[in-house]
């Protein structure tokens, strides 16, 4: 996470209805934006992956009412957060899953998630958050209030 005392600069705020047709556009925009802002191709790709997986999860598992994405910078860190309205049951599931995921280092957790994927129902992959940690190289934090969840991913720029 970013160091206490670093100011947080909000670079992008997007608020929209969680419709599937936004996912690619949001990923492309945030990826390009990060690449241009940090003048680095890799951070652009990493931000794109993280944004896509967070937004996709919010759309799949949220209640289709509201979604807010923030892209912020704090010192040498990039913070990406996606907040959406959802059921409290979903928040509990997510919290439990995140706890299991973070038991292992990112690459091992991703490998385990890939191994487990084939045993899940066809419509699920269980790979998104593991991918954020491993491929995106971002840490994950969950904050929740009744009916709302915010996933924040933090990584080095």
């Amino acid at each position: 996470m970013h160091t206490e005392g670093d100011s947080v600069d909000r670079m992008v705020q997007l608020r929209f209805r969680p419709l599937w047709l936004y996912v690619d556009e949001v990923r492309e925009f945030c990826g390009f934006f990060a690449r241009a802002t940090f003048r680095d191709e890799e951070i652009g790709q990493r931000v794109g992956i993280v944004v896509h997986e967070l937004v996709e999860n919010a759309i799949r598992y949220g209640d289709e009412k509201e979604l807010e994405l923030l892209l912020e910078r704090s010192g040498a860190r990039v913070l990406i957060s996606v907040a959406n309205t959802t059921s409290d049951e979903r928040v509990d599931t997510l919290r439990a899953y995140l706890a299991t995921l973070t038991e292992l280092p990112p690459d091992q957790a991703y490998a385990r998630a890939l191994q487990n994927a084939a045993s899940l129902p066809e419509t699920q992959s269980g790979l998104g958050l593991a991918r954020i940690r491993c491929e995106g190289q971002f840490d994950l934090e969950l904050h929740a209030t009744p009916g709302r969840v915010r996933m924040t991913a933090t990584g080095a720029a």
Partner: protein, 153 residues
């Protein structure tokens, strides 16, 4: 976040004044506005492009541009603004342009086209005249901070 009056879409970006930031943002705005106000999306795209281009071309290269766009719920329209810092000479020129606008946007654009041959190569000064034909625009100046507000309906 959970109010009935929440706008349908909000986009707020602090972008660096570099050319390659414009197209991705315009692309996102176009796609997003096409979902909610398809009859306004093309005009929105034009206004966004022209305002951002002006901000990049004429703004302070060391200060970020603040872009804000909102599609309100309950009414068909797009509201947006672009704020940037600029050299006092540029600010004065912009204020002059606004003051010279006539009541008829088409006439304003025609006049802007007519003056093109008198301008240096690479300068068109058509942007604002073009925007006027797509949106209701106002200018706010606060020292070196310039904000153009646009309402598309």
């Amino acid at each position: 976040m959970a109010s009935e009056q929440q706008p349908t879409l909000v986009v707020r970006v602090a972008l660096q004044p570099v050319w390659n930031q414009i197209e991705p943002l315009q692309g996102y705005v176009l796609a997003a506005s096409n979902v909610h106000v398809p009859t306004l999306s093309e005009r929105t795209g034009i206004v966004v492009q022209e305002l951002l281009e002006n901000a990049v071309k004429y703004g302070d290269p060391g200060r970020s541009i603040d872009f804000w766009l909102q599609i309100p719920s309950g009414r068909r329209g797009v509201d947006l603004s672009v704020s940037n810092h600029a050299h006092p000479r540029r600010v004065a020129l912009l204020q002059q342009e606004f003051e010279a606008f006539g009541p008829n946007p088409k006439d304003t654009l025609a006049r802007a086209m007519q003056r093109l041959p008198r301008l240096p190569q690479g300068v068109s000064m058509l942007g604002l005249a073009r925007i006027m034909n797509e949106a209701a625009i106002t200018l706010k100046v606060d020292g070196r901070l310039v904000t153009v507000n646009a309402a598309i309906q």
